[in-house]
Each structure stands twice: as structure tokens, then as C-alpha cells.
Amino acid sequence: MEALVTAVTLICQNDSYTGAVSMEDLIRQHLDQGRTREAFDLLAAGFQDRIYRLAVAIVGNRALAEDAAQDALLRIWKGLAGFRGASALSTWVYAITRNASLTALAGWRSRAADSMEDPAVRAAAEGYALPGPPARAGFDVEAMVGQLRPQYQQVLRLYYMQERSYEEVARMLDLPMGTVKTLLHRAKLELAAQLMGSSVKEA
């Protein structure tokens, strides 16, 4: 079983894989035979990185993203037995992850807004919002990205996390590929403008 999970993980990490046995086929086989736990283990092994990255792209904070990814996986677990494939498995997984991430983000903002009067809570919230790794290029990349509008943030983060694949970003955010390119280019221009200390008027 462990070897199978490893194999499927490798298959799933390679998005260009077009072999005869897909992860989705294996998961469906398990589901058809009532082995929900096995199906879930395969799914989690294959998708956990992309679920987490999508959550990071949306919430912009790694600790909160882990909470959102956990919530997404639990929602997937609850719905998996009833999954009958009206859509592709990945489409379903990404939709759940986006919802879980937006829920986590809304909950965090609501809690932060409610308790900002308390200096201790404010300090904790600000600490929670700090990005993971420190700036490595002389400027704080995540702080700059955090200044952009949400859609720009999501596309920009996900594009670099998903090996610069427009196609994968489009699939994960459920956007047309042309839209992803446009959003990414605008996001880069705004970031560059921030870096130059001036603003660039949009075309």
C-alpha cells in the first residue's frame, strides 16, 4: 500500500503524466469498492502540495494556509464517498480548497477586526500575518505582494509556486488562461512600480 501511495504521489506530481492508470482511475476503483479511506489516502498524497499552495496563494499566510488545507482535506474526506465524478476530481478538489481558503481568510479577518481594540490581540494578529521566510533579495517580497489586489496576489503566488505554469494556475483558480496571463502581467507591473517607488497607471 505504501509503495502504491508513493507511486501515485510521483504520478500526480508530474502533471504531464498521461499514462494508462491515472490517480483518478485508482481513486474511483477504491470508491467503487467502498474503500473510502484508501481513496482518500491516495488523493491526499497526490494533491496535498497543490492544496496547500492554493491555500497559500489565497490566504497569503502559511500558518493560516495549513489550517485552510486541513479544512479542505477534511471537507474532501466528508464528500469523497459521495463523489461520482460529475466534474474532474481535480476540479472538485480545487473548488473545495478555494472555498476552505476563503472561509479561513474571512474568519481570520473577522476575528482580527473584532479584536483590534485589544493591543495584545493586535500584536498577535500582526504576528500571525507575518510571512514565512524572510526577504532574500533586499526587499520584502511577500509584504509587497500583500499590497496588491487579491486576484493579483493569488495569480502571482500560484504562478511561481506551480513552476510557472499558466495552465495549472488557470485550472486551480478556475480562470481562463488568458485572464491568468493578463492578471500576472499587471501584478508584475504593479510590483515593479512599488519597487521603483512610483505608481504605474494601468493601460
Partner: protein, 141 residues
């Protein structure tokens, strides 16, 4: 910014994907425009920084464990400390009953020695200690 600069900016944002002719046009404009040259430099600085920030993000190793612990329906039910204590009390009662029965059916002349008494107390103390440690560990989890 002139229209040409705006156009140049949009092309610079996707510079890596430009066709050779477009790239040459952008390069020519950048060479004679200070604003677009600064923009090109800023974009060039951003690429590696964004790659370093987001290029190596994967799920933390703790995620799977956190999720697995929540999949309660498929895990064996976790024993509650209370039934275990009741279980131990029940076995103690059985042990007492057996002891009393043994006392009643013991041959004449049998007496409970101090060593037997200490051994019994020792076993009970160790059992109690074990239960306490187990309950504490369960609560910590």
C-alpha cells in the same frame, strides 16, 4: 508615460514569452527610454525574488498527521479513561472476592503473613501508578 511606454511596459511584463521581433522592438525602446529602462530593471530584479519566495513551497509535513487525527470514523475508537478505571475497579473487586473466598476455604491454621500483605499492597500500588500515568498520557494527547 506615453502610449509607447505603456505598450512597452505590458510587453516587458511578459518579456520571456515575446517573439524575437517584439523583443527587438522592446529592447530598442528600453535602450533610449530611462523610465522603461528602470521598469525593465525592476522587473528583472523581481523575477528571482519571486522565485525564491514561492518557488519551493510544499505542504508542511505536519499536515497529513493533523488530518489523519481528525478522520475519527476510520480509526479505532479511543478508549476513554473512565471505563478503564471502572474496569480496574471491577477486577479489584473480583480479586477481593477471590481473596475472601480463599480465606473462607483456607485450611485450618492458615494465617495471613506480613509478607503476603506487603506483596498485595505493592501490586495494588504499582497498578494504581500505571493507571495514573496512562490517564495523564491520554489527556496530554
Amino acid at each position: 508615460m506615453t502610449t509607447t511606454c505603456t505598450e512597452c511596459g505590458n510587453l516587458l511584463a511578459g518579456y520571456d514569452e515575446l517573439a524575437a521581433t517584439e523583443r527587438a522592438r522592446v529592447d530598442a525602446h528600453v535602450a533610449q527610454c530611462a523610465a522603461c529602462s528602470a521598469l525593465a530593471q525592476a522587473l528583472a530584479d523581481l523575477g528571482p525574488a519571486l522565485g525564491a519566495e514561492y518557488g519551493d513551497v510544499s505542504a508542511p509535513p505536519t499536515l497529513r498527521g493533523r488530518v489523519s487525527r481528525r478522520l475519527s470514523p476510520d480509526l479505532p475508537p479511543k478508549p476513554s479513561p473512565l471505563p478503564a478505571i471502572l474496569d480496574m475497579l471491577a477486577w479489584s473487586a473480583v480479586a477481593c472476592a477471590v481473596g475472601m473466598l480463599a480465606w473462607f476455604v483456607a485450611p485450618a491454621g492458615f494465617t495471613l503473613t506480613g509478607t503476603m500483605l506487603y506483596a498485595t499492597a505493592g501490586v495494588l500500588t504499582l497498578g494504581e501508578l500505571g493507571i495514573t500515568l496512562w490517564v495523564v498520557r491520554e489527556r496530554e494527547e
